[in-house]
């Protein structure tokens, strides 16, 4: 095999990236699920033909999928008995390299000149896959069967033709099934676009050259990641991040992280974390690993993503903890919430070592709220999802962004005008949560405060959020952001849910109001070092006086104590 000149290598790297970006774009524009179309909750990539390792992934894909699809592709490779051109496997089994059940993967063998060259795969978040609550974010499930339909790898398309029988099983087990065929076709069409573009790349540069380039790119990414890691001083770095509760038993869950950094490698030891839990806050191993990958990618965004990127990162399986869930532990909270706490633990552990690159803890919750019922005016049943952002942490350079999206996502919130068009609700406010930002030289961003009223009929509300017990911590002397807060106002009375950030099946009647305030970001650096200009702006804009670090810490400590 001839050597590849560095220019061709760069050209092939861009080419592979473009194949994935085009799949991402086509999938979003053609999708029905608002979670995909507006939320961009999807990802597309190219995977190695025998190992399933990541070759390239779309730059606009949902970050948490950065590491998961290689595991599910591997699961398909291990289980497939025969493969033909035009086959597409469907799989959402969390224990086979998955996340939660709503993330449905399509995995397609890619043949070049009659030979299997690679796999193309994508993940899309379906709005429903059955289970005890509409939308799948149950706060109370205790086994995976309650969470929805679980699909092992099966061929949904056989030689290019959809299998109507498998399709009918799927559509009979999920809500709002009538639009799903649109998502299924969009998801399959995206892979087809990838197939066409990858074929022309291979036609242009030749199979051998591309194959070799893939190998060199993997080595290059590993080398680049090692160079980044080398900038961190050797040592042991510890942190703890808290999940409010599992939704069933009202006790905090602890992510206990020890990073051993030696030379050009890092080991992530999570073995001291809490044991598996009853409720749906368990994380499957693919998600646990992926959360660490994405945290590192947030710290070093310039390193491209392929299997080599993760090579210098060692993650022993944290057996016996809630971060290595086994069947039938419920897992619906793992992709959206627990993963963000894992990433937070990584950020907090490394903040002292890399003060110029790191930032204080972001709000770190997806803020899922689902309201479902039947609109008496139209007779149609509906499920409305709201996701909201929160404050990001301050950094060496800037205050945190307000209403930033979840650490693991890039989903936008739907416009209020569109929600009010489609669902029988009215928003009373959508505002900056004044005073929610953690104080610091650079303060955190602000959380959001909103209130939504059911206008007519009856409905059920469920939500899975986090950071309700303690706010996102500050770093280097910065204060914590204010925690997440939910209040439900019914017939003149207001109550706070027992599990603070998680509950399901709350019966709503017309006029009932749900108030949500999402967390503010943590502060960066001592608040006393905040510049007079920034203080003047905080005052002028009425952002609310941030309390001192000590007050915040005391409040956080007493909240923890109260929980124990």
């Amino acid at each position: 095999m001839a050597a590849i000149d560095p220019v061709t290598l760069a050209v092939i790297q861009n080419g592979l990236q473009q194949v994935c970006n085009e799949m991402d774009t086509a999938f979003v524009r053609a999708a029905f699920s608002p979670v995909i179309a507006e939320g961009l909750d999807r990802s597309d990539g190219i995977y190695h033909r025998t190992t399933g390792e990541l070759i390239a992934q779309g730059e606009l894909g949902l970050p948490i999928f950065v590491g998961t699809m290689q595991f599910s592709t591997r699961a398909v490779i291990d289980r497939a008995r025969s493969i033909d051109p035009g086959d597409i496997f469907i799989v959402n089994d969390p224990y086979l390299g998955g996340t939660h059940l709503m993330d449905v993967k399509f995995v397609k063998p890619f043949f070049y000149k009659g030979r299997l060259f690679a796999w193309l795969a994508n993940t899309g978040h379906w709005p429903d896959t059955g289970g005890m609550v509409p939308g799948g974010f149950s706060a109370k499930a205790t086994e995976v069967e309650q969470e929805g339909l679980r699909l092992p790898p099966v061929k949904l398309y056989k030689k290019g033709e959809i299998d109507e029988e498998i399709l009918s099983i799927i559509l009979s087990n999920i809500r709002i099934a009538d639009q799903r065929i649109g998502d299924i076709r969009a998801q399959a069409a995206a892979l087809e676009i990838g197939e066409r573009r990858l074929t022309s790349l291979l036609d242009r540069y030749g199979e051998d050259t591309v194959e070799r380039a893939i190998d060199l790119l993997k080595r290059g990414a590993a080398q680049q990641m090692r160079a980044k890691i080398a900038t961190i001083p050797d040592g042991d770095y510890r942190s703890v991040a808290i999940v409010d509760s599992d939704g069933v038993i009202d006790e905090p869950l602890e992510i206990n992280l020890l990073i051993r950094k030696r030379g050009e490698g890092m080991e992530f030891d999570l073995s001291k974390s809490s044991p598996p839990c009853r409720g749906p806050m368990n994380s499957v191993i693919a998600t646990t690993k992926s959360a660490i990958y994405l945290a590192i990618k947030h710290i070093f965004p310039e390193v491209p993503i392929n299997a080599g990127t993760f090579e210098p990162l060692t993650i022993p399986v944290p057996e016996g903890t809630f971060l290595d869930a086994r069947y039938p532990r419920p897992v619906s909270g793992c992709a959206a919430e627990v993963s963000q706490r894992i990433a937070e633990a990584v950020f907090l552990a490394l903040a002292d070592a890399l003060p110029d690159r790191l930032f204080a803890a972001p709000a770190g919750t997806s803020g899922n709220l689902a309201i479902g019922g039947t609109d008496p005016q139209t007779g149609n049943s509906f499920v409305m999802y709201i996701v909201t952002g929160g404050g990001y942490g301050g950094s060496a350079e800037f205050d945190g962004i307000s209403n930033g999206c979840s650490t693991i996502g890039i989903a936008k919130t739907p416009p209020i005008e569109i929600l009010e068009q489609r669902f029988p609700v009215l928003f009373n406010e959508f505002a900056i949560a004044e005073g929610s930002a953690g104080a610091g030289r650079h303060r955190g961003g602000f959380g959001v405060r909103y209130a939504v009223v059911l206008r007519r009929g009856e409905a059920r509300a469920s939500f899975v959020m986090d950071h309700g017990r303690v706010g996102p911590p500050g770093v280097l002397g910065g204060g914590s952001g204010k925690p997440n807060r939910i209040e439900i106002r019914q017939s003149g009375k207001t109550y706070v849910p027992l599990h603070l950030s998680k509950d399901q099946d709350i019966q709503l009647r017309a006029g009932d109001v749900i108030h949500v305030q999402t967390p503010g970001g943590g502060g960066y650096g001592e608040p006393s070092e905040r510049s007079p200009q920034l203080r003047e702006m905080d005052d002028r804009f009425g952002y609310g006086l941030a309390r001192s670090t000590h007050e915040e810490d005391d409040a956080a400590a007493s909240a923890l104590k109260a929980a124990e």
């Binding site: 242009r204 947030h298 310039e302 800037f398 406010e429 505002a431």
Partner: protein
């Protein structure tokens, strides 16, 4: 009897002016842009032509006043009145961050929080009043805004697209006490749902309106003093023009008018040359703009985001910008891969060869080392540097890490840069289901013609068109643009549930309003053309696909079919089981001006033969190595001539590179057409 027309475009570096006089022909002027007050540059350019302004029948102006004000955040003090509970919509945005990876960033809302006020009022999504407007609160807030020094004001209420009554009344109350005309009602800028996007668009309008108004007043006063008798026409982002008195009401329409005007000129040039389907490629110093023209019409989008979290949802020519320009810096990353950008040397310090202190190699430096640019003819050089110094820097910053000489490193930079730009072209245009072989690549801007032939080869595009004046394209856009006014109405109903008569009435109301605006403008037009389009989606989707509707014929079945067909060609997906929904109706009312004779650009002193136009020979690098390459004076190439590359065509403001084997044709309009030899 023709009329004397002036097109004048203010760019980042130069202000360009073209004057067309039916008797004396064309005159060009290029002067440095005067950033503090663009009017000075405009007047200086006009003076250079020696033409008395009182003899000018039409003066069409492209200004970056609003674009710059927005991008540099040098905005007027604008206040907002909005629905109680929602003043932070403009600051909270839609839950995003600047980049998918990395959690550090910053965002500054267009209107700061201390100038955003709430009043009691509320509509629901059907346009029914939930809470009546408190007029007393509006009055009190208006006084408060004035006392805080607000110069302009935006009224932005929830669901005003469904029922504008509250917005209209509030605007009326404010106007009664407001000292100037700067009062914007959000729904009058765009009547579309989505509170953040509509709100930002309105806020931008209010924040640039005083700036545009002041600028145009100043310029018009100066021109009138010098004898100009007519109102100015101003270029808009949609590629059309509007009279100065009208354009200031919706000033947001002038944002991004510079790139739009280049694309309009390209469309006209290419159509005249017989090429209706075009990819435009405008490479400047820091970035490259790419746009698509189909059947002679540039694609226009109402969904563009001009920077992070800055959606401007008025129709704009769909120009995609890539961060690669002549000044983009090349470096080798930790993985040993050659990267171009995103860092740019900008104007200061600029490329190494400009001698303004630049030390890192750029794309321009690579072009120089490879003999593509003439070291004697670089524009804007301060202190000349030697070729060896530039090649040395190439080797040091790029070559050493890759085991390449300085010249080889330069060649590598060009290849990777071309690849990046080709990727952008593919992603914005060709991936939409078009076959590149049906398109022509039209290159302009200072650096476009340097790279166009190589890009075309990479993309499989068979022909490249370099217009007669690649560096004056934006000014030409002003000369050729028609008047244009856009309208939109949100419908949001399944196609099966709409009334054909009702929608036909919406469209004819658009047309009527457009015609009445055209009638008020003091410009001679030959014809009024109307274009209707519909934003369509399948029920349950949020993205839209824009489909044309024939004028005066609103038929649901025809629209249904057109949508399904468009959907199939874009996504290869058919969804017979799902209902199509009509989201929005758009209308563009275009006042066609008398066509500008594009061939007027060719009036110059051509040589008799190709050989006579030759200036000399230089060693130039192409993909297959170094070639002794003839250098031609572009302006002296005879019309209708044909010859083969390799060749370098030099003219005042651009250099065209023609690869070995390519065939060059100079058409009767003075365009250079490069027939690209097949790739590997």
């Amino acid at each position: 009897m023709g009329s004397v027309i002036v097109g004048c475009d203010v760019g980042g570096t130069f202000t360009d002016l073209i004057l067309h006089d039916p008797v004396n022909g064309l005159q060009f002027a290029k002067v440095p842009t005067t950033t503090a007050n663009q009017a000075h540059g405009v007047l200086a350019a006009l003076e250079k032509t020696g033409k008395n302004p009182n003899g000018i029948d039409l003066f069409i102006h492209g200004t970056t006043a609003t674009t710059n004000a927005l991008l540099e955040r040098k905005l007027a003090k604008c206040a907002l009145i909005t629905t109680r509970g929602f003043r932070d919509v403009l600051e909270l945005g839609r839950r995003t961050r600047p980049h998918p990876y990395g959690l550090i960033g910053t965002f500054i809302p267009v209107i700061p929080r201390d100038l955003r006020f709430e009043v009691t009022e509320r509509m629901d999504a059907t346009g029914a009043v939930v809470q009546p407007l408190s007029e007393a609160e509006v009055r009190a807030v208006a006084e408060e805004m004035l006392s805080r020094g607000a110069e302009s004001v935006v009224v932005h209420f929830l669901h005003s697209y469904a029922n504008p009554a509250h917005e209209l009344r509030a605007a009326e109350i404010i106007r009664a006490i407001w000292p100037n005309e700067y009062v914007t009602a959000g729904h009058q800028i765009i009547g579309e749902c989505r509170e953040y996007e509509r709100g930002v668009t309105a806020a931008v309008n209010g924040s640039v309106q005083p700036i545009l108004d002041r600028y145009l007043n100043r310029l018009e006063a100066e021109l009138k003093q010098r004898g100009l008798r007519r109102q100015l026409l101003v270029m808009q982002g949609n590629g059309g023009t509007a009279s100065s008195s009208i354009v200031t009401r919706s000033a947001v329409h002038t944002v991004m008018s510079g790139p739009a005007s280049g694309v309009i000129a390209a469309a006209r040039t290419a159509t005249a040359a017989g090429f209706p389907n075009v990819v435009t490629y405008d490479m400047g110093g820091t970035s490259t703009d790419v746009a698509l023209i189909q059947e002679g019409v540039p694609l226009v989008s109402s969904e563009l985001e001009i920077e992070y979290a800055m959606p401007i949802h008025v129709p704009m020519v769909d120009v995609h910008t890539v961060g690669a320009g002549g000044g983009s810096i090349a470096h080798v990353n930790e993985a040993g891969l050659l990267q171009i950008g995103p860092k740019s040397a900008g104007a200061i310090p600029g490329p190494i060869c400009f001698g303004r202190g630049g030390t890192e190699p750029t794309i321009t430096d690579a072009n120089l080392v490879l003999g593509r640019l003439n070291p004697e003819r670089l524009l804007g050089v301060e202190r000349s540097t030697t070729m060896t110094a530039v090649a040395g820097a190439m080797r040091e910053h790029v070559g050493d890490a890759l085991g390449l000489t300085g010249e080889q490193a330069a060649a590598a930079i060009i290849r990777v840069a071309n690849d990046k730009m080709a990727g952008a072209i593919r992603l914005v245009s060709l991936s939409r289901g078009h076959d590149p072989r049906d398109f022509v690549l039209l290159a302009f801007g200072g650096a476009g013609p340097l790279h166009a032939a190589a890009l075309a080869k990479e993309l499989g595009i068979p022909k490249v068109l370099i217009p007669a004046r690649p560096g004056l394209t934006n000014a030409l856009g002003c000369l050729v643009a028609d008047l244009r006014h856009d309208f939109v109405r949100t419908i949001n109903k399944p196609l099966s549930a709409v009334s054909e008569q009702e929608l036909a009435a919406v469209l004819s109301a658009h047309v009527e309003e457009g015609r009445s605006i055209l009638a008020k403008e003091d410009v001679q037009i030959e014809d009024v053309r109307v274009f209707h389009t519909a934003d369509m989606q399948f029920q349950g989707q949020t993205h839209i696909l824009n489909v044309a509707i024939p004028e005066g014929k609103f038929e649901t079945q025809a629209l249904h079919n057109a949508f399904e067909q468009a959907y199939w060609s874009r996504f290869r997906v058919a969804l017979p089981e799902i209902k199509p929904v009509l989201a929005n109706l758009h209308t563009a009312v275009i006042g066609k001006r008398k066509p500008f004779p594009v061939d007027a650009l060719t009036s110059r002193t051509a040589a008799r033969t190709v050989a006579d136009a030759k200036r000399g020979t230089r060693r130039v690098w192409f993909e297959d190595g170094w070639f002794d390459t003839p250098i031609f004076d572009r302006d002296r190439l005879p019309l209708g001539s044909e010859f083969r590359g390799p060749a370098i065509l030099e003219q005042l403001d651009a250099t065209t590179v023609v690869d070995p084997g390519n065939r060059i044709e100079v058409d009767v309009l003075g365009n250079v057409i490069i027939h690209v030899a097949e790739g590997q």
